[in-house]
Symmetry: C2
Subunit: 305 residues, 2 copies
């Protein structure tokens, strides 16, 4: 598994980053970028979602992308699913790593998957029952800290939902998601501390941080300090905020990789190879790129010329 | 003084932010922006430097700006000085709060003030001897973590310099500066912890964070957690990095204020009033603005229209 002094960065750009981009990114371009990301040292990539293609046309080619992964040595692809039906479809398409997502807040879950959180909880139960043993499971808890509609989410609400979900399967990577980017590091620390103490048998913990308000690395660092070793990030900071057009979303992979490099923590990422991919990603038509390190490092390179 | 659940944000835009901007910002415009910053709830402002006006023509009007502060109720202006001579000039011009700056790294100190760190240490001694009792003193330790020329600065080097400086005057606000923005939060934590333990009688500790690589808020948060309560910041993130043209510099005041607001910590800042000033600051000719919160909040406001 992971070295003691290492973290796993899960590249979510191809799913969370692309899904909000309107102009369809050609499948061949997506596969080309995926190969470049793996060549830069990334391994785990959320390559897409099995969802209603009418609702998310950008991700309609997920099964093609998944099939292409057979030709990308080293990649560990994961796909997001919102319910049992699409979970089965993902497994039938050859997925071995599923991300199931539901939101703590009723309004966000209904907006996202047209179900109440309790209905999604039952979908998760059905999916687990239908799942072969060898499938890895990531459980994404969206709006774990804050909801774009309802504002701050109480720690007790998130824990109440987890009390239902966690006992269903302990062999899971449990990811708390800062969907809005408004979770402050003290809040993130508080919830993770409470959850890690309450559910000590969960296999792994992960953080999905956004950087809309500049808190991405602050939250990643504070959770690293608490022992979290899996972090979602999106190359070029792809993934805007649907509720704040023009604002950035996911924390940038290159920013997270750069911080850990400064800390002497291994991510397996070769920044010299990742930065050009991030520069390419930032030019995708319709994208809202974010992140700082891409600018800082290319500015320095520019000044050396 | 400060409430228990409060922090002081020192606005350094008018000094650190403006100094790298080539086109001269008219003095009246500077004073107008200063008034707006105070109206937004800021109190402490580094309004300029007493330095060689040929080296830093942008700050040549510091004594005029200082004089104008008499008509700005509530402002606590501080001015930066690099040696005894300019320190005396600042005091003679009515300054009651001086920031003395020197760098740990020889190369940066020579580049910045044309002296060795030891020569600057003697300047500090002379300045303290010349200073009337009622003058407040901030001591800025530049390149405390990292140097643009030499890279990472060893903790032992910074402490060796502080061992000379600290005993000269304990009644000081001692500020460790991340001059390059490359200090990672674990490094910042380590040095502050060592210094706060070694010099327990220093009046106050402060952090000057840059955000060039996205680590501004991570470093502010980790020092807040260790008990630091004074943070430098620059509205609109003004203040580029002279060694990475086009890259951003100081952490943005509005980002710091926003994080602390989410944490329930008082800064005295009214963000609704600060954001428009930051938007104005970002349009200053020749400026390299930074920060996230300005974009995020104005994008949300835009989406509500």
């Amino acid at each position: 598994m992971m070295a003691a002094n290492a973290v796993d960065i899960v590249e979510v750009g191809p799913r969370d980053g692309y899904q909000g981009i309107k102009p369809f990114i050609p499948t061949a371009a997506k596969i080309g970028l995926l190969k470049q990301l793996i060549a830069a040292g990334l391994k785990r990539v959320e390559i897409g979602s099995f969802v209603n293609a009418i609702a998310l046309p950008q991700l309609a080619d997920t099964s093609e992308i998944l099939a292409s992964c057979r030709d990308i040595p080293g990649i560990v692809p994961q796909v997001l699913v919102p319910n049992e039906k699409y979970g089965r479809l993902a497994i039938d398409s050859g997925s071995r790593f599923l991300t199931f997502v539901l939101s703590v807040s009723e309004s966000h879950n209904r907006s996202n998957v047209r179900r109440s959180p309790l209905e999604s909880t039952e979908e998760y139960r059905s999916l687990l029952a239908a799942m072969p043993e060898h499938i890895d499971m990531r459980l994404n808890i969206a709006t774990a800290f804050d909801c774009p509609f309802d504002g701050r989410v109480a720690e007790t609400d998130t824990i109440a939902l987890l009390d239902l979900l966690v006992p269903m399967r302990l062999e899971v990577e449990l990811c708390l998601c800062d969907t809005t980017g408004r979770a402050s590091p003290d809040q993130v620390e508080g919830l993770f501390a409470a959850c890690m103490a309450r559910y000590p048998k969960v296999t792994r913990w992960a953080l999905h941080a956004h950087d809309t308000y500049g808190l991405g690395l602050a939250n990643v660092y504070s959770e690293w300090r608490q022992g979290v070793r899996v972090f979602d990030a999106s190359y070029a900071g792809l993934g805007g905020c649907p509720f704040a057009p023009g604002a950035t979303g996911n924390v940038a992979t290159e920013d997270v990789a750069w911080m850990f490099r400064r800390m002497g923590i291994s991510t397996g990422i070769d920044l010299d190879r990742l930065i050009p991919v991030a520069c390419d990603g930032a030019t995708i038509l319709g994208a809202t790129p974010g992140g700082r390190v891409r600018h800082a490092l290319t500015a320095i390179d520019g000044s050396r010329k």
